[in-house]
């Protein structure tokens, strides 16, 4: 068994209202120096050896992420 992490974030050019809200909250808390926030989803998958990179990409592409507006990265 191995743990695989998949991160899903909105594509760089897609508006991220939640990220903007976090950015606004940082300013209200008096924290300066943060110029942008992008939020996303983090998945941890426990997989056995039969799941190869191609299958992981398929899982991410068809279920975990919405490829129209999101990018994903897979880390083994």
């Amino acid at each position: 068994m191995a743990r695989v992490a998949v991160d899903v974030v909105l594509k760089a050019e897609i508006l991220d209202p939640q990220g903007q809200a976090i950015l606004g909250a940082l300013a209200r808390l008096g924290i300066s120096g943060v110029s942008d926030v992008r939020q996303g989803k983090h998945f941890q998958l426990e997989v056995d050896g039969s799941v190869d990179d191609e299958q992981l990409a398929k899982i991410a592409d068809t279920l975990l992420a919405n490829p129209v507006i999101e990018d994903f990265t897979i880390r083994r």
């Binding site: 909105l10 594509k11 760089a12 050019e13 897609i14 508006l15 991220d16 209202p17 903007q20 809200a21 606004g24 919405n66 129209v68 507006i69």
Partner: protein, 754 residues
């Protein structure tokens, strides 16, 4: 950031032969040549961006314009219309100094690409249209059409669209008071998402989209501009950018309902303090549309410093800024002495506001980019004087096939058991089944002014807490009818929405429409369109309900296969006292069930033929608009005088479906006796128009029948409500328990979507 050579006006004049990607931007060669003629030189790439979006079908109505004129030419005389077609939305007098504005718009294509965001931004866009008129948006409705239930793509699109409509509307705190959801194969690769919004204001608060008064400031406020919805602009950029830059340009717009909510409150405060001369929302074609339309409608000129536009993505080039469809943005024209007040209100609401230009009387729209002139054009040529096409029209040959194969020979149910099974099958069909899976995801009662909401015939809201005045709205369409006969089909959609509003007790006064069709370059589709517009304009004339505005959506097709022609018609009615409205459900024990109107053997395009036999053919039901007016008068009088305690219009599925809905809505049984001598199948399932089911308390029966007789409204007593007997019984034929009816009606959508 690498400096990019900007295509300035001077450069355009000096390099007349430079090739430009007009075809990729959707402009025909003749259109490109006309632009060059107007300007006396080739356009700069920024000007090309403006013309390409403003002269697109979506913004210029170039294929539909010559037909849409009929809505104005045939408009009935009425004193209730305060603002007619041509503005962002029509405004109707609701009495006592109240005015309401409403409009419906499509967001079909984006909703197929990305269902959630497509539908959400569709709602956001129409809400801003209403806001732009100076009104507070108070309710939304939606008309949705999908491919067949049970196919994987419908599983992807439907839940996304419903969540998007609900997500955006709920976050804004706007009740969704009704609409429709329908299914047909032709919508599989091209769903229809039509969103309607209604707003309320005082009659003296109407705002118009115009930039008057030289020296006044042009202010862009709301969200920053990003790369949303500018897939097309990458063509312009491709000449000078690498692949990496292009890849970053999404064609999906993402909505931010919380930003829109703040924008609404900010605008309403600005309106209340009378701080703007003119205002326009940024929708399709973004800044291009707002600047050209404001300038064209006002003094005629505007100077804009495009580099002052606040950006979400600093790498955007002028062409992209001009074409961006980023959401939640508005443009206002403000007198210099009110500017500080205006900016203070924006600051209070934390809304970014930036002065980007000045109104002039030069008759030119001029834009600079870091001091260099990149746009210099007469705004009217982009906003109003775009190309107009009289597209070829040809009646498709298969229209004759429809008439020849009219479905008369389809086997019909005869026995009580067969009729019972048919009723259950229709009630559980995707088109007729309960849509509560959809509408339960919408907040229907937020703000506390909702009087009636789905699944009632019409949605109804009180205008304000201080009054009992209200408006009722219904949206309807039927692609099958329209396919069989576009002229009649459009009138049937109008008649149904009109009838729904009247059934609730409101007087129908105005119409908005969303015309969803295939490609205008297909002469057959163009014939459907021309016929539908003619039918709708004629119908509105007879019903004395002017068209106040709307939207045309062409190119709804998968490959070469167009959708069923689908004009969706929204009718708005006013009611003096919402406490006198009539709801749909049976509710009084012993009340007498009356059928108003006459029933003929009419099954062309019917739900029965489609659901049971998969058949679409024959003639759609006959339209009798004079009879519809009579029926509406009767229903409104009954409501006002308390002669009925429920009313429900008859449409798809006929009397049987109406009875099922009345019983389930009121959780009450009924014993029905079909008129003597009538063919039970025709009586139960025919879709003849201008009919309604009402229940009359016994004490009111004489007054009711006297009134119908005096007005020559055909009526028949067909049964009695029995609250305790949990069955719908059709005497001598069959009876079905409410439990079984509810299971049939309510399980269709949840079975698929959980």
């Amino acid at each position: 950031m690498t400096a990019v050579a900007v295509d300035t006006v001077a450069r355009a004049a000096a390099t007349p032969e430079q090739p430009q990607p007009y075809a990729e931007l959707g402009l025909a060669e003749i259109e490109y040549r006309r632009i060059a003629e107007i300007l006396g030189r080739r356009p700069t790439s920024a000007e090309l961006a403006i013309y390409s979006v403003m002269w697109s079908e979506h913004c210029s109505y170039k294929s539909s314009k010559i037909h849409l004129r009929q809505f104005g030419e045939k408009a009935p005389q009425t004193d209730t219309l305060l603002v007619g077609m041509g503005e962002n939305a029509g405004v109707v007098d609701a009495g006592d100094g109240w005015a309401v504005t409403f409009k419906i718009e499509s967001h079909n294509h984006p909703s197929y690409v990305e269902p959630y965001q497509g539908a959400a931004t569709g709602v956001g866009g129409i809400v801003r249209d209403i806001l732009t008129m100076g009104a507070r948006p108070v309710a939304v409705m939606d008309s949705l059409r999908f491919g067949p239930l049970g196919l994987p793509d419908t599983d992807r699109v439907l839940p996304g669209v419903v969540a998007g409509v609900g997500g955006y509307g709920n976050c804004l705190g706007l009740p969704n008071i009704g609409g429709e959801t329908a299914f047909h194969e032709s919508y599989l690769g091209n769903p229809l998402v039509n969103a309607l919004c209604v707003g309320v204001m005082r009659t003296d608060g109407i705002k118009l989209a115009r930039a008057d008064g030289p020296g006044n400031k042009v202010v862009l406020f709301g969200a920053r501009t990003g790369g949303d919805g500018i897939g097309g602009a990458s063509v312009l950029a491709s000449a000078s950018f690498d692949q990496e830059h292009q890849k970053k340009r999404p064609s999906v717009q993402v909505g931010d309902p919380f930003a829109e909510k703040v924008l609404i409150e900010c605008c309403l405060e600005i309106f209340a303090a009378d701080l703007v001369v003119g205002i326009q929302d940024l929708g399709a074609a973004g800044i291009s549309c707002a600047t050209t339309e404001l300038a064209a409608a006002g003094t005629g000129g505007m100077d804009v410093e495009l580099d002052l536009v606040p950006l979400r993505d600093p790498t955007l080039v002028p062409e992209e800024i001009l074409m961006s469809e980023s959401q939640e943005r508005m443009m206002a024209v403000v007198a210099p002495d009110r500017l500080d007040d205006f900016l203070n209100v924006c600051a209070k609401w934390d809304v970014l506001a930036t002065v980007i230009g000045t109104v002039t009387d030069s008759g030119r729209l001029r834009m600079t980019w870091h001091g260099e002139q990149i746009v210099d054009l007469p705004p009217r040529t982009a906003a109003h004087e775009g190309p107009v096409y009289d597209r070829p029209i040809e009646r498709p040959y298969d229209q004759d096939v429809f008439v020849e194969h009219d479905g008369r020979t389809l086997p019909r149910p005869r026995t009580g058991d067969e009729l019972r099974a048919t009723l259950l099958r229709l009630t559980s069909s995707p088109n007729l089944a309960s849509k509560s899976w959809v509408t339960d995801q919408y907040d229907r009662y937020v703000q506390g002014n909702t009087v009636l909401a789905a699944p009632e015939d019409a949605g109804m809201i009180r205008l304000d807490e201080s009054t009992v005045r209200g408006v009722a709205l219904s949206v309807d369409g039927n692609g099958r009818y329209t396919n069989l006969d576009p002229y009649v089909g459009a009138q049937l959609a109008l008649a149904e929405a009109y009838r729904n509003v009247a059934a609730a007790g409101a007087r129908p006064v105005a119409v908005t429409n969303c015309l969803n069709f295939g490609s205008p370059e297909d002469p057959g589709v163009m014939w459907q369109f021309a016929e539908a517009v003619r039918g709708l304009a004629d119908g509105c004339q007879i019903l004395r309900t002017p068209v106040t505005g709307g939207n045309v959506s062409f190119y709804n097709q998968t490959g070469n296969l167009p959708i069923l022609p689908t004009p969706v018609v929204g009718v708005l009615g006013v009611i003096d006292d919402v406490t006198r409205r009539t709801a749909q459900g049976f509710r009084t024990d012993g009340a007498l069930v009356y059928l108003l109107g006459e029933t003929e053997d009419e099954f062309g395009g019917s739900e029965w033929a489609y659901t049971v036999h998969g058949f679409i053919g024959g003639r759609p039901p006959t339209v009798d608009l004079a009879r519809e007016r009579l029926l509406a008068d009767v229903l409104i009088n009954c409501s006002r005088d308390g002669l009925v305690d429920s009313a429900h219009d008859l449409s798809e599925g006929g009397l049987a479906q109406a009875l099922v809905e009345c019983c389930l809505r009121g959780d009450a049984g009924a014993r029905i006796v079909l008129p003597e001598g009538a063919d039970p199948f025709v009586a139960l399932f025919s879709e003849s128009t201008a009919r309604a089911v009402v229940t009359v308390p016994r004490t009111e029966e004489v007054r009711f029948t006297d009134m119908c007789t005096a007005r020559r409204m055909p009526f028949a007593r067909i049964g009695v409500v029995d609250l305790l007997d949990g069955r719908l019984e059709v005497q001598g034929l069959f009876s079905i328990s409410l439990r079984e009816l509810r299971r049939a009606s309510a399980s269709t959508l949840p079975r698929r979507f959980g």
